[in-house]
């Protein structure tokens, strides 16, 4: 992170991108146009790429420029938002708790089970946050975290829920077709889930390596979250890595079938973590979820 350009270069660049004009950005920042011009130039030198196509007036962002402008806006916006949140720290009221877990787990495991919790605790409201860019964990406003891993977290109190396992899954019709034609995992069409923000899910590369399966091509259909991937695999578009937390319901219902002898234990499990001194609603939730399975 020490290779980041100076903050002022980034904010000035983003202002130019936002206003679409170095002159306007300069006016807005109360500096000379020259300062803006040199700042953008310095940033380009720092990165080694042009951020603006100067063949037009006003200059247009290059693809690289667009990419960076968005990242700067979002990244620094996130920090600014955190600073605001810090200034507005306030507790939750009412019989509520907020659970953080991944999007796929929330969609296919937690949300379908919450009616059971509500039946036992009709006065408790469970808010769910599926973090966009990091693993769930306890933090201000997050009372409970459900996440997978090896359980060695130092925050709060952690209890294991179930062992995670993975097996390639496909729609029944596609599976029969592939197996009938003798197509193995070395050639079957794949459904990938890839995202720069979520590097913690093992992908096909790791699975195939663990199973010592060689494939000449890894290309397949790509999504950046398991909701869309699940929709695609249910639609018969290919074979997806079926995590127990995500695919077990569909497999139980027969909408998906597991690849024969494809199950693999990657040594991780799902855990629930609550604070050392949970609120009443959080304690009720923790008691329920640890008894559930």
């Amino acid at each position: 992170m020490n290779r980041l350009p100076p903050l002022r270069l980034l904010t000035t660049f983003e202002a130019v991108a936002r206003h679409g004009s170095a002159r306007l950005a300069a006016a807005r920042l109360n500096v000379s146009a020259s300062a803006v011009s040199q700042t953008v130039k310095a940033l380009e030198d720092h990165i080694g790429t042009s951020l603006f196509d100067r063949g037009t007036r006003p200059a247009q962002l290059t693809e690289a420029g667009e990419l960076l402008a968005r990242a700067v806006r979002d990244g620094l916006g996130q920090i600014a938002a955190a600073l605001e949140d810090i200034r507005a720290l306030s507790g939750q009221d009412g019989a509520q708790l907020t659970v953080s877990c991944t999007l796929g787990m929330a969609t296919y495991w937690l949300m379908p089970r919450l009616p059971d919790f509500y039946a036992a605790h009709p006065d408790v409201t469970v808010n769910v946050q599926a973090p966009a860019t990091d693993l769930p964990h306890l933090s201000p406003g997050i009372d409970v975290a459900i996440r997978y891993g090896t359980g060695g977290w130092s925050e709060g109190t952690t209890v294991k829920l179930f062992d995670e396992s993975v097996c390639p899954v496909a729609a029944p019709q596609l599976l029969e077709s592939l197996l009938g034609k003798g197509v193995g995992l070395d050639a079957a069409p794949l459904i990938h889930v890839r995202s720069p923000h979520n590097q913690h899910w093992a992908g096909w590369e790791e699975y195939l390596r663990a199973r010592r399966i060689e494939r000449s091509r890894l290309s397949g259909q790509t999504f950046n979250n398991y909701v869309q991937a699940a929709q695609a695999v249910l639609d018969g578009r290919g074979v997806m890595l079926g995590w127990r937390s995500i695919a077990s319901g569909a497999v139980r219902e027969g909408a998906l079938r597991m690849w024969p002898d494809g199950e693999l234990d990657l040594g991780t499990s799902y855990y629930v973590t609550g604070p050392r001194r949970p609120s009443g609603p959080a304690q009720a939730f923790l008691d329920w979820i640890t008894a559930d399975e």
Copy 2:
């Protein structure tokens, strides 16, 4: 954004948070412990809040400290990732295209319709990206963007798909119960979708203001994406703002019902944007989707 603390304060603070020790962070950053101590202090002064509880050794992060550490890590990580992407700009190969649209739209509108596209174009693969933190738009690796707004984007070629509208929706049983008891939108249990990263969705506040409905309490169940919110509303947990792009299928199927006379046009529509010179697969997709409705 000009109220952001200096970058070095942020990166040093994050290093201390990451290492859990000012001494270790100092060693890692190749500076004296004193520099680290004064940097963290300067940052705390800048923000006006303690980031570390110094009653223990090593010091522990406060809640504010945890919040900021995560934001700094993610925010600056995003910028660092963009810088890496810029260095690794590469095109897609094969008969593929990548479509970017919001998570709810992908889940409830696009993915259910894609089988029709595949039927007409069996050799084309559609990857779908649901951006975590910003509105979909064209960018390196994104061939087509589907988004809502007023259509005034300067990039590529934009065609309108349909007008968006919003109406509160609820499960039939809950709706009947509420209406039967004479409960209006001023008191019905609400399902919110709120996220610091997605400020572009209108929420209940805006809807109620537009309808001139006064409510004493806005609290309700909160999620940070429409997938979980939709699951909750289907489960009868409350009334959700039902965007046409998200709720129309469920309403058509009878799983959800619209609030009587609740529909509201907020003046936005869904548009599809492709590059001025689309690839073959992208052109096929654009032709299909603009003909679809």
